[in-house]
């Protein structure tokens, strides 16, 4: 569906995207994950043909995005970041214009526009000016626009940014429903979004791909910087003793009356629970709670995208 080969984008001396390659197969929902400024939007703009790459190739359904640009764009629905729309147009009017522009034949115009109005739950705002819509509605109008010519591929750049939790839920549900018949590429820096929606994740940082896998596998394979929490009545030298365990990177403690809560930062894949318990028993600490936090995708993300990597 999408094939990206050695894609590079330079702005003067800054390289925003450094020779990335990946593929997205038909029917996949792929999350394009990275911190702000990682090169997500730049990559998406190149995929849609808006920006030409410095080097490298992109093809959509076998059509080269630059040499066969019009064909590629016919199969593509794109929602840019911040959903730019014409504020002076009415929702229905705007969608009819977009549908006609994207080549929906005149006889099917009303039907297609009606379908996407329904699908994106903006039917009740059909006659409203876009400029007077709330952000959530704008986003849904943007999605309706991306869908109006029934494209095989959807590229959505941060579709839930700036929405409130209810709106986010609606938009996510919507994207999930859309994905049944389509291939979707979503960029985001919101992790739960990826875990909820995407069948695969591409992690990008500083213009390079750091990992590509399912969210589940990423979590398993990168038991990133884990944490172990210990609540105990312990002596003043307890932190020292815990720090002496080889797989413990750092210990922080918070005193609450007699009880102290220790947070142990751990090496990847380390499980020092037994060792901690042995020390506690040896020193006769009274333990109230001990548990190791399961690595979250968040930790994986942090590990893959922090500066020292």
């Amino acid at each position: 569906m999408i094939r990206v080969q050695q894609l590079t984008k330079k702005y003067g001396s800054i390289t925003a995207v450094k020779g990335i390659s990946f593929e997205v197969a038909k029917g996949e929902i792929v999350g394009f994950l990275g911190p702000n400024g990682a090169g997500k939007s730049t990559t998406m703009k190149m995929l849609t043909g808006f920006l030409p790459p410095t080097t490298g190739r992109v093809s959509i359904l076998g059509f080269d995005v630059f040499d066969q640009s019009l064909e590629a764009r016919r199969h593509l629905g794109y929602l840019p970041e911040n959903t730019p729309l014409y504020p002076e147009m009415k929702v229905g009017e705007y969608l009819r214009y977009r549908a006609a522009l994207k080549g929906v034949p005149g006889s099917k115009l009303t039907e297609r526009v009606g379908d996407v109005l329904e699908l994106c739950q903006v039917k009740d705002r059909e006659k409203q000016l876009i400029g007077s819509l709330s952000k959530g509605y704008r986003q849904r109008v943007g999605l309706a626009d991306a869908l109006v010519h029934d494209p095989a591929l959807l590229i959505l750049d941060e579709p839930t940014i700036g929405l409130d939790p209810n709106q986010i839920r609606t938009v996510r549900e919507l994207i999930k429903n859309l994905a049944e018949k389509r291939t979707v590429l979503i960029s985001t820096h919101i992790l739960p979004e990826v875990e909820m929606m995407c069948s695969r994740v591409i992690v990008i940082h500083r213009g390079e791909i750091r990992a590509t896998d399912t969210a589940e596998n990423l979590r398993k394979n990168h038991r990133a910087v884990g944490e172990l929490i210990l609540e105990a009545k312990a002596g003043p030298d307890a932190a020292e003793a815990l720090r002496a365990i080889p797989s413990v990177k750092d210990v922080t403690s918070v005193q609450d009356g007699e009880w102290t809560t220790f947070t142990l930062r751990l090496d990847a894949k380390a499980e020092p629970g037994a060792e901690v318990m042995r020390i506690a028993t040896e020193r006769k600490w009274e333990v109230r709670e001990i548990h190791q936090k399961r690595a979250m995708l968040e930790d994986v993300f942090a590990e893959l995208t922090t500066a020292d990597h």
Partner: protein, 253 residues
């Protein structure tokens, strides 16, 4: 072709959605109405060879207002799309860049055709109340006068579009476009009238470029094909330039 048509209609609507469109229409009609009335009452007192049509369109004031209003209408065409980011929506739809440039151009041309068409009523009224006294030298003069109006409008719109594609801010775009047009109008006028240049070569050059002089010719029914070539090629040149600038600006956004 359909894509181009759809986009052109969107541009026409876009113009009619802005309040400035109505200000411009009202301004043009009020000004032309006033000139028309002044011309008629002047010719009533001292009859001469010049026709009402010739003086109504062939005066400097009209051209300056025309230069300013075309700039106000075109200032937002490109700069607004870039500012709002809608350029991304527009250029990722299956539309070619030249279709966008031409649609924006013809959209404004259509707006001007609509804005200026009520002036035809002036001449109809004149013919009616003057018991058939002609407002022009024959019906052909009407066609040629309105043809020249269209040609000049096209050139001015193309200049305005170019300015809008060049400059980030729409106000700056308007200022740039007005300046260029005023200089273009002013220089031949100055040569002809203010400086009383008698050198025939300078006069010839002024005649070749001055829209006011062209209008005087065309509104008396003289269709000079050199003028057609002049306006059409200049318009085409500015449109091609606009296309190039639009293209390179898109790459940088």
């Amino acid at each position: 072709m359909r894509t181009f048509f759809v986009q052109t209609m969107r541009e026409v609507r876009g113009i009619f959605y802005t309040p400035v469109a109505y200000v411009v229409m009202a301004l043009l009609l009020a000004l032309l109405g006033y000139t028309f009335q002044a011309v008629v009452s002047y010719l009533n007192k001292s009859p001469s060879d010049v026709t009402v049509l010739q003086v109504t369109f062939g005066n400097g004031l009209f051209f300056f207002i025309f230069a300013i209003t075309t700039s106000l209408i075109t200032m937002r065409t490109f700069s607004e799309e870039f500012r709002m980011g809608t350029i991304e929506m527009l250029t990722t739809a299956p539309v070619k860049e030249w279709q966008i440039v031409l649609a924006k151009f013809f959209g404004t041309v259509i707006f001007y055709a609509v804005a200026l068409s009520p002036t035809l009523i002036f001449f109809a009224i004149f013919t009616y109340i003057s018991n058939g006294h002609p407002a022009a030298k024959g019906p052909g003069a009407f066609y040629s006068a309105y043809l020249m109006l269209l040609l000049i409008a096209m050139l001015f719109i193309a200049i305005g579009n170019l300015a809008s594609s060049l400059v980030k801010d729409q106000v700056n775009a308007a200022v740039l476009s007005i300046s260029v047009k005023i200089i273009y109008l002013w220089v031949p006028m100055m040569l002809e009238e203010l400086l009383n240049v008698t050198d025939p070569r300078v006069r010839k050059a002024a005649e070749f470029v001055s829209p006011i002089m062209h209008m005087r010719d065309f509104s008396s029914g003289i269709v000079d094909s050199r003028r057609l070539v002049w306006y059409l090629s200049l318009t085409a040149f500015f449109l091609i330039l606009t296309h190039h600038i639009f293209h390179s600006r898109k790459l940088k956004s």
